[in-house]
Amino acid sequence: MQDSIVTKLGLSRLIEHRDDINRDLARDGVRFGVYKGGEFHEQIFPYDPIPRVIGAQEFEKLSAGLIQRLRALNAFLRDIYSEKQIIQDGVIPEDFIYSSAGYLPQVNGVTPPGGVYAHIAGEDLVQATDGTWYVLEDNLRIPSGASYPLIVRSITRRVAPDVYSRNDVVDNRDYADLLRSTMAYCSCLGTPVILTPGRYNAAFFEHSFLAEKTGATLAYPGDLAVEGAQLYFADYAGERHKVGVVYRRISDEYLDPFCFNPDSLIGVPNLMAAYRAGNVAIVNAPGNGVADDKGIYYFVPQMIHYYLAEQPLLKNAPTYLPFYEEDRAYVLDHLDTLVIKDVAEAGGYGVVFGSSLDAEGLAELRHRLEIEPRRFIAQEVVNFRDLPCVDAAGKPCRRMADLRAFVLTGATTRVWASGLTRFSNVPGSMIVNSSQGGGFKDTWVLLH
C-alpha cells in the first residue's frame, strides 16, 4: 500500500532525500526545546517525507466543521466573560467554569478589540479507520506548530520541485499572510509585536520564524512597557513605538505581574490595563483557557446547538465526565478500556490508557477519580488511522498520527490549507506529542 502511495504521488525524491531535508531543517535552526530532569535540551523535530493528504472535498467539510466550532467557541468566550447566559440556561454547570484554571475573572466585562477571543486556534483531530474525523482538543491559548509544515515546504519544493504541481497541492506558504491579516484586523493602530519568553521556550524557533515571516517585531521580556495605558516598544535610542497588537507566546498567568502571577519576570507590568482600556489587542485573548479546558471540551457540541442553533459538523471523541454520577459509574466500570486525561495537563502528559494499567494501577486511578472527579475526563479509545511513514532505517512502516489544524479568525474565519501532522515514533503508540519524541509530516490539501 505504501509503495502505491509513493508511486502515485511521486514521493521517491522526498524519501531519498529525507536526511538532506532534515539537515536543511537543522541548518535553518528548526528545533524545539524540552526540559528533562530540570535541564533544557534542544532537539530536532524529525520530518517524515510521506505527507498526510487531504482531498479538496474532505478539506471543505473539515473546514466547515472547524469554522463552526470556532464560531461557537468565540461565542462561548464572549458570553462567559459577559452575561454568562449559558450557565443560567443550565447548559454548562457553573462548577466547570469557575473551577477551571483557565477562567480569569480579571477579564470579566472586557471585550477584546475586534470582538474576537480565539484568533488562532490549534484544533487537534484524528481520523478513525472509517474516515470519520474526531476533534480531540481545542487549543485556544498559544497553539504552536504551524511553522514546521511552513518551513519544510519551502525546503521540499527545492528537493522535488514538480511534485506539488503534479499533485495539485495547495500552496501553504500563505500562513504568514493569514497571521498578519488576523493581527491587523484587531490591531489598535500601532506596530505588531510577537512577545516571546525567550530562547529557552520550547517553541522559540516558531516565535522568531513567525516574526520574520510576518514582519512583526520579536519582543523579549523587558522590551515592552506600558505608560498612560498605552503599550510601547522602546528602541535603543529611547524612541517609543506604540504597539497595536501583541501576539503573545506567553501563558496567561505570566502576562502581567500586576494582574496575574506577581512573581512573573517575563510579563509586561500593566499590560492588562492597556488591554482593558482598548488600547492594545492581545492574540489570543487572555482568559481563553476556560474554553480549551479538557472538561469544557465535553460541552462544545452543546455550545454549537446553543449559540448557533446548528448540528455539529464535527464529532468529539466519545467523552465522559466523572463529575456526573451516571458518567462516573460508567467510567469506573469500564476503566480498563478507556483513556483517562487529567484536565490540568497538556503536551501528552497526564494521559493514561486504562488498558496499560495492572490491577493495582486501576485501583489507584479509580480512587483518584472518586475523590477528584472534576479533575479528569474519560474517553473511548478512538482507533485512529495510522499513516505510512519511513522509519529511522529508511524502511516503510506505519505510525499513529494526529492533525493540528490552524483556524484563524479576523474579519472572517479561515482554516489554513495545511496543518501539522504529528506522528508517534513508537509503533502502536497513540502519543504523538513532539515533547514525547514524535516527528512531523507535511499536510497536503489538494486543489481538486
Binding site: R27, G29, F204, S208, E212, T217, D235, Y236
Partner: protein
C-alpha cells in the same frame, strides 16, 4: 534603527565578536599547525597566552590539548564554545537577519561538529571558515537594517583587534581592523545611546594588556573622534583623520590614504 533594542544591539555586537573568534582562532590554529609540520613543534604557550588559559600542555598529550582547544564545549577559550555562543546570539536575531543569513552560522557549528575526525579536521575547518565568510557576505548583501549590519561588523572588527593583540600580530596588521572599527561605528545611527565606550574600553584594555598600548590608545582616540565629530565635518573626513591617526602608529606603517578608505567602504545602507 527601526525597532532594535539595546539588548538586540548587544546580541548583534556579540554575534560579530563570536563569529570572528571562531574564524580567526581556526586560522591561527591552522597557521601554527602548518608550521609545526616542518618544525615538529607546536607553540602551545602562544595559544595559552592568547586564550588566557593555563599552559598545561606538559600534562597532556598534544592531541588532547588540541582537541580541548578546539572542541571543549565547557571551556570559554575553545572554538566550539565560541561557535555555540555565536549560534546562541544569531538565533535571537532571526527576524532581523533572515533565516537564510542566520543559517550560515548554524552551518558553521554543524561543520565544526563534523570536524572532530582527525583525518578530515583541517579540510572541515576550511568549511567552517567558508560558512562564516558566507554569513558575513549574506549579511552585507541582505536586507538587514543598516544598524544591524554595522553593529555585527563593529563587533567583528573589535574582536579581530583583540585577537590580533592576543596572537601577537605585527603592528602594521592592526591598521585595517582599527579603521573598520571606526568606519562601522560611524555607520551605527544614534550610537550615542549605546554603551560604545564600554565596548571599546574593554577591548582597548585587553589590547594594552597584551603589549599594544599605542593600538589601544588609537582605538579610543578613533572612537572618540567618530562619536564626537567636529561640527561640519562629515564621517568620511573623520575616517581620514582616523586613518591618519592609525598611520602614525608604529614605524614603517604605510599611510592609509583616502583611496584606501574609499576602497574599504562597504555599502551598509
Amino acid at each position: 534603527m527601526g525597532t532594535l533594542t539595546l539588548k538586540k544591539a548587544e546580541y548583534c555586537l556579540w554575534l560579530g565578536r563570536y563569529t570572528e573568534r571562531v574564524y580567526t582562532e581556526l586560522r591561527e590554529f591552522f597557521a601554527a599547525y602548518d608550521v609545526s609540520l616542518d618544525t615538529d613543534r607546536l607553540d602551545f604557550a602562544r595559544f595559552c597566552r592568547a586564550c588566557d588559559i593555563e599552559d598545561n600542555s606538559d600534562k597532556k598529550l598534544p592531541g588532547e590539548f588540541l582537541y580541548d582547544l578546539l572542541y571543549d564545549r565547557n571551556s570559554p577559550a575553545s572554538v566550539c564554545y565560541a561557535a555555540h555562543a555565536a549560534v546562541g546570539n544569531v538565533m535571537l536575531l532571526r527576524p532581523e537577519l533572515s533565516t537564510q543569513t542566520m543559517s550560515y552560522v548554524e552551518l558553521a557549528l554543524s561543520d565544526l561538529r563534523k570536524s572532530k575526525d582527525q583525518q578530515l579536521r583541517l579540510l572541515r575547518h576550511r568549511s567552517v571558515c567558508d560558512d562564516l565568510l558566507a554569513f558575513w557576505g549574506a549579511l552585507e548583501n541582505g536586507e538587514a537594517s543598516p544598524s544591524v549590519k554595522a553593529l555585527v561588523f563593529l563587533g567583528k572588527y573589535l574582536e579581530r583587534v583583540d585577537l590580533f593583540a592576543r596572537f601577537e600580530k605585527d603592528r602594521e596588521e592592526f591598521a585595517s581592523p582599527l579603521l573598520k572599527v571606526g568606519f562601522y561605528l560611524a555607520c551605527v545611527p544614534d550610537n550615542e545611546h549605546l554603551p560604545v565606550d564600554e565596548w571599546i574600553s574593554q577591548v582597548a584594555a585587553d589590547v594594552e594588556q597584551h603589549g599594544y598600548a599605542d593600538e589601544a590608545r588609537c582605538m579610543t582616540t578613533l572612537t572618540a573622534r567618530v562619536r564626537n565629530p567636529t561640527e561640519g565635518v562629515d564621517s568620511t573626513t573623520e575616517l581620514s583623520l582616523a586613518a591618519g591617526a592609525i598611520s602614525c602608529v608604529g614605524a614603517g606603517t604605510a599611510p592609509i590614504t583616502a583611496d584606501v578608505i574609499s576602497a574599504m567602504r562597504v555599502d551598509v545602507a
